[in-house]
């Protein structure tokens, strides 16, 4: 039952706030080109199946995978589309893994593609459609629209993250300076990554703290941009991967865990997560994925981390919740440089979602970058040898967590 799956390549398109020179199809084929360039012995005809995904309604066009078929070379081949909100990319990568591990005859090499071209449409319309039903029911219960729009103001994602930031800052007694430090590290890393969006090589903590609040406690300088971009990953079987590249990256564990939705809850009933920074979904997903991968001591066994952190407080939260640092110690690790490129446990050396956020693609860029770090082909390569790495995703109805654990050696769970 099941096959060992390996990643042989991953590719990115250039990310920018307005990719005015390409449309969605061209953007996607840019990422595929970069992905196939890294495996010269593989041609587009050798790909057996496709998985595709982005956020619905963000670009103002639904079912984009159908008219994009020729741009991906997917004509006459199996193709599915996955869309799970903010974690779309992570779910697409996991679907690519599932497709290969299922062991269908004739399906060995699968290309997973996630993309988003936010400059083409109106993101707020897409986001409003997510919560509009819930808002309507609260309105019917007597809450005013003024109150409800305020609750979700500043864009849906920052509305959720600001609550997490408040409780996290309360719990750990950190200041905004600690949040700014995370941002500065990310933006400096992004400056060394060719595909990243916000490349700020000279950013300082003072500059970040000088920007106005978007939503207390998060400032303008701390939040992620809205980017255009695409990401592609190539999954294949263990045997084929050994022929295709020198260092195949084995996918040893995947998890996708949905927890209770925060803030609004279902049918306006409020959330049972009284502490929004608790994130039981992240804890559960790490338990699942690590047990699949045979990792008992994540702090010792994992060498490189990519977490989904549009906002700096989330980066601190995730590295703790995914079992990489002790509770409430993450800010100290950023201060002492443990998480820097040449540190003990480098985090987000591509700049993370904080520097590049093409929503549908973001959660896939995390495992893609983590895989490239193991292969040694990453743009901002860490100096130490990476044996095991993880890439996480966050989103969905505010609490869907995806996690992929990769290593340079297969976990022999199938034998």
């Amino acid at each position: 039952m099941g096959r060992q799956v390996a990643i042989v390549s991953a590719g990115f398109s250039e990310h920018a706030s307005k990719r005015s020179d390409v449309n969605m199809g061209e953007l996607v084929s840019e990422a595929i080109e970069d992905c196939l360039k890294k495996v010269p012995s593989l041609e587009i005809n050798d790909i057996d199946a496709y998985v595709n995904g982005n956020m619905p309604a963000f670009e103002g066009s639904n079912i984009p995978e159908l008219w994009m078929t020729d741009w991906m070379g997917a004509r006459n081949k199996p193709l599915i589309r996955i869309t799970t909100g903010g974690t779309t990319g992570g779910s697409v990568a996991i679907a690519g893994y599932y497709t290969v591990t299922a062991g269908l005859p004739g399906v060995e090499t699968v290309l997973a593609i996630a993309f988003e071209q936010q400059s083409q449409g109106d993101t707020s319309v897409g986001l409003a459609s997510v919560a509009y039903g819930e808002i309507s029911i609260l309105n019917s219960m007597g809450a005013t629209y003024d109150h409800l729009t305020r609750l979700l103001s500043g864009g849906a994602a920052i509305g959720a993250a600001a609550y997490q930031a408040t409780t996290y800052m309360n719990k750990t007694n950190i200041t905004e300076e600690d949040l700014a430090r995370v941002v500065v590290q990310n933006r400096h890393n992004a400056a060394k990554t060719w595909w990243a969006h916000l490349k700020m090589p000279d950013l300082t903590i003072e500059q970040v703290l000088d920007t106005p609040y978007i939503q207390y406690p998060l400032r303008y300088g701390m939040v992620c941009p809205a980017s255009d971009g695409a990401c592609a990953m190539l999954f294949t079987t263990e045997e084929k991967a050994k022929d295709l590249c020198d260092i195949p990256v084995y996918v040893n564990g995947v998890a996708s865990v949905a927890n209770e939705s925060a803030i609004l809850g279902y049918d306006g009933s409020g959330s049972a997560q009284i502490d929004p920074s608790m994130q039981l979904g992240a804890i559960r997903s790490s338990e699942l994925a690590y047990s699949q991968a045979g990792i008992s001591f994540p702090r010792k066994e994992i060498d490189y981390v990519e977490v989904y952190s549009p906002f700096p407080n989330q980066e601190l939260m995730w590295v703790e919740k995914l079992g990489l640092f002790e509770e409430a110690t993450a800010p100290e690790m950023y201060k002492t440089g443990v998480t820097a490129v040449n540190g003990e446990l480098p985090v987000n050396c591509s700049g993370g979602v904080n520097s590049t956020n093409a929503i549908g693609a973001s959660a896939m860029e995390r495992p893609a970058e983590a895989a490239l770090q193991i292969m040694g082909k990453a743009s901002n390569q860490v100096p130490k040898t990476v044996h095991a790495s993880i890439g996480s995703g966050w989103g969905g109805s505010l609490n869907l967590i995806t996690l992929m654990v990769m290593a340079d050696e297969p976990q022999r769970k199938w034998r």
Binding site: G142, T166, K199
Partner: protein, 175 residues
């Protein structure tokens, strides 16, 4: 106050891309009919009219849901027990939004989720207007203030007011 929204620019390495043809188009969204089952809210709304708070409790995990919930996600059963809830609460979490009012002046508007004593969920709420936002902290004790005339809706609780707490040395105090 307009300084709040004035976005200070952070420089980054930009690359200019050539502009190819763009086709402008509009997408007028239709009106929708969302389906929700709100039968479980009826006792809750009726009690609100009498200035009383009730919540329902899951018989599987004993969690108390305020406002009431149709199904307990943990146990996958319908919560059928009704319990009374006190009107004292604490701030579960908060954030501050910066929104323009009708005159175009940016105002600080706090948004709070309150956790009622005796309940296991938190819900959206409004604090009394003269409570300084900067004095808000997680765990701040508050109390519901009712409207003069209740109509049986969530907004019957006009706002939450601060309770004087003498336990200043507790760690709930703002750092």
């Amino acid at each position: 106050m307009s300084k709040i929204t004035q976005r200070k620019h952070l420089d980054y390495v930009k690359k200019e891309y050539p502009k190819t043809r763009t086709m402008p188009a509009n997408w007028y969204l239709s009106s929708y009919k969302y389906k929700f089952n709100i039968t479980h809210l009826k006792p809750f709304m009726d009690k609100l009219k009498e200035k009383k708070l009730v919540a329902n409790q899951c018989s599987g995990c004993n969690r108390v849901f305020f406002p009431p919930r149709l199904v307990c996600g943990q146990c996958f059963v319908v919560p059928d027990k009704w319990v009374d809830i006190r009107d004292t609460a604490s701030v579960a979490t908060y954030a501050i939004a910066f929104l323009k009012d009708e005159n175009g002046v940016v105002q600080e508007r706090p948004m709070v989720l309150v956790h009622h004593d005796g309940a296991d969920t938190c819900s959206i709420a409004e604090l009394r207007e003269d409570i300084e936002v900067k004095d808000t902290y997680v765990g701040m004790p508050i109390k519901a203030h009712w409207k003069e005339e209740t109509s049986g809706g969530l907004m019957d609780i006009e706002y939450y007011e601060l309770i004087e707490d003498k336990a200043k040395d507790l760690k709930t105090e703002k750092k």
